[in-house]
Symmetry: C2
Subunit: 381 residues, 2 copies
């Protein structure tokens, strides 16, 4: 192969695919980036076998010549060094040439780099995917949905299916659910144009969805989502992102969500978040993160408190917007609550309780379709 | 004690002293911050026994009341939690009250914190220091001098004296030297007003000088430096910074600095730094960081190169400003060179060589008093 490419565009493509490179891979060739030079542009591919990212740099964009191809060809370059050196090259255009012996010569101004590559034929092939089941979604909406739930997946690899987010699409409603058995996050949104499309029990790694979220373009646009038997493909402009569907049966979570409440409280998000944060700082020292919420005599105020044997106590009186139903004393993991409050973009939040031992349900009044659940702690005092 | 203090000023004082807190301390009370409340203000003290930092918040600044003292007293508060919680308190003013049983109650708006403190009598006393030997220096100059040399101290604790910076003051010239046996950095500057002051062989931990540098005020001002038998005290406004003088005899480095050169090269700093950086990226993969500089046939150009058995080679032709003397081939640790180039604020640098096995000397032509030395690698090829 022999071609000249603009550094900025090559760099952008490298940044995209580099997210798939894992230093922990046991397959040496996956420490590389595959570069395929065709007459219409340059394709970069990287994978850790769990995700695959492919980014294409076309020869022309907006009538500007980005790549000039003199000879097509393929090679695998060592990713870590390639990523860093390309960023540091002195000129706007970079020239690359490689021979049959997997040697590649990179030239930029008076800088010459001779790199030993690997045979691209040894690089594993992209997952095969059937285009049968696909729909389109706004990238901003997808990003929002990922952020609402991905923090709630389990970090425990011993139940792999719980490290994923459950996807369902039916009757134009896309629903995401994540749970680690102590809390649950779910969001459902209408996807216009998805009439007749349907899938169920597709589970995608929460970590991979976070990686996808990082390469979503800042400007909103439509993304194609192709759901195949073992893989889901996200097609965002010139970038393809493949992620494996997790094996295993996702638990039925519908039954743990209470349908009515014994106590309902409405809060301003910021003061609630600040108060929980302060109580968390102390409870963290006890490793439990336990914070107690008490709604007693006062109709417009609750008490937030935590204590540590060694350090002391934090006690706050917090103004609330509304209180309905019974008085309440409940203890919960304040980190779970902070995780929820951090993703809530609304000013107010509504929390429903069905007793000190039953799940708390957090909902936004200003945005439908979002539901967060936190299981309380069973404490004796 | 009983007092009210403005959060912003308390926070600033906490930020200063918190740099002395070490989580690795074996003395439990040093995990705390000592708080002394007098009629004229509040003093915070923290230490890891190696450094001591004291910060004073006066009751009045610029005719504004910052602290209102109702009752004097002292207590030691748990540092980690205290630092974080004060920053997160909701109101501008914070009220604190403590009893004889080392309980402290912190109130801010409707937030109440009960903390268990420790007896301030148990806290070790500040180092005693004689004010006999002292001088004043501009804080910007001190910061500049620290940055020019502190990176070159040894990271190897087995020779503690080399982890420090050697200070000498004589004939109004303050000189700093740092070396790790592979490289050396030195700077000397005139200190107006230090006539008649003199000290020699004072060695101060490079790490501690970097900590000091972080709390130097952004605005230039004069700092008092008090050099005592075992300690050096830096007095910067309301903050006192004590650091221990390191034991041991600092090696005589004067003899290793060549007085004449066989080759002299002048470079523009930025292109040199960029070229070395690219060569470093490859050499780093070999763990040696070896980069070679070759000045041969061309009078206005040198070659910078590095190679890795596994990856390949980087070769660059670099324009230089001037070349005097013999042709040269020298190999050196590129990280050491980058460390020097990073602190050079001038556009050009002058490098003197006395052969492939002899020290390289880097000097700024535009700023006197700075000298950096790098020992080359003895390579066979």
């Amino acid at each position: 192969m022999k071609f000249t490419i603009q550094k900025a565009q090559l760099n952008e493509a490298i940044q995209h695919v580099s997210r798939a490179i894992s230093n922990r891979t046991t397959v040496p060739i996956l420490l590389g980036i595959k570069m395929d030079v065709h007459h219409d542009g340059v394709t970069l591919t990287a994978s850790d076998t769990d995700i695959w990212i492919q980014s294409f740099v076309p020869t022309q964009t907006n009538e500007e010549t980005v790549v000039q191809v003199e000879k097509t060809g393929s090679i695998v370059v060592p990713a870590k060094f390639f990523i860093e050196i390309i960023r540091k090259l002195p000129t706007k255009d970079i020239h690359m040439i490689s021979d049959n012996r997997q040697q590649i010569l990179i030239t930029s101004g008076s800088t010459e780099i001779q790199l030993t590559g690997l045979d691209s034929d040894e690089y594993p092939s992209l997952p095969r995917i059937s285009e049968k089941n696909s729909f389109s979604i706004s990238s901003h909406l997808l990003d929002h949905m990922i952020h609402q739930v991905s923090f709630a997946v389990s970090a425990n690899e011993s139940t792999p299916v719980l490290t994923g987010v459950l996807w369902n699409l039916k009757d134009e409603i896309l629903k995401f659910v994540a749970t680690d058995r102590h809390r649950l996050a779910s969001i459902e949104k209408k996807i216009p144009g998805s009439e007749g499309k349907e899938f169920q029990h597709i589970v995608i790694s929460g970590k991979n969805l976070n990686e996808l979220s990082k390469i979503l373009p800042e400007q909103d646009g439509m993304i194609d989502v192709v759901v195949s038997e073992n893989q889901v493909l996200f097609r965002l402009g010139q970038v393809l992102f493949y992620t494996r569907i997790l094996d295993g049966t996702y638990p039925d979570t519908s039954k743990i969500i209470p349908q009515s409440y014994r106590t309902e409280l409405s809060f301003h998000v910021k003061p609630l978040s600040d108060a929980i944060e302060r109580a968390y700082l102390l409870s963290r020292e006890e490793k439990t993160n336990i914070v107690r919420l008490t709604s007693e005599d006062h109709p417009t105020q609750v008490e937030i408190s935590s204590s540590s044997n060694e350090l002391g106590k934090v006690i706050e009186q917090l103004e609330i917007i509304r209180s309905v139903g019974e008085q309440l004393r409940i203890s919960f993991n304040s980190k779970y609550m902070l995780d929820v409050l951090r993703v809530i973009k609304q000013d107010t939040i509504h929390i429903g309780f069905t007793g000190a031992m039953s799940p708390m349900i957090l909902k936004c009044e200003a945005e439908e379709g979002i539901l967060h659940l936190i299981l309380p702690y069973r404490t004796t005092n």
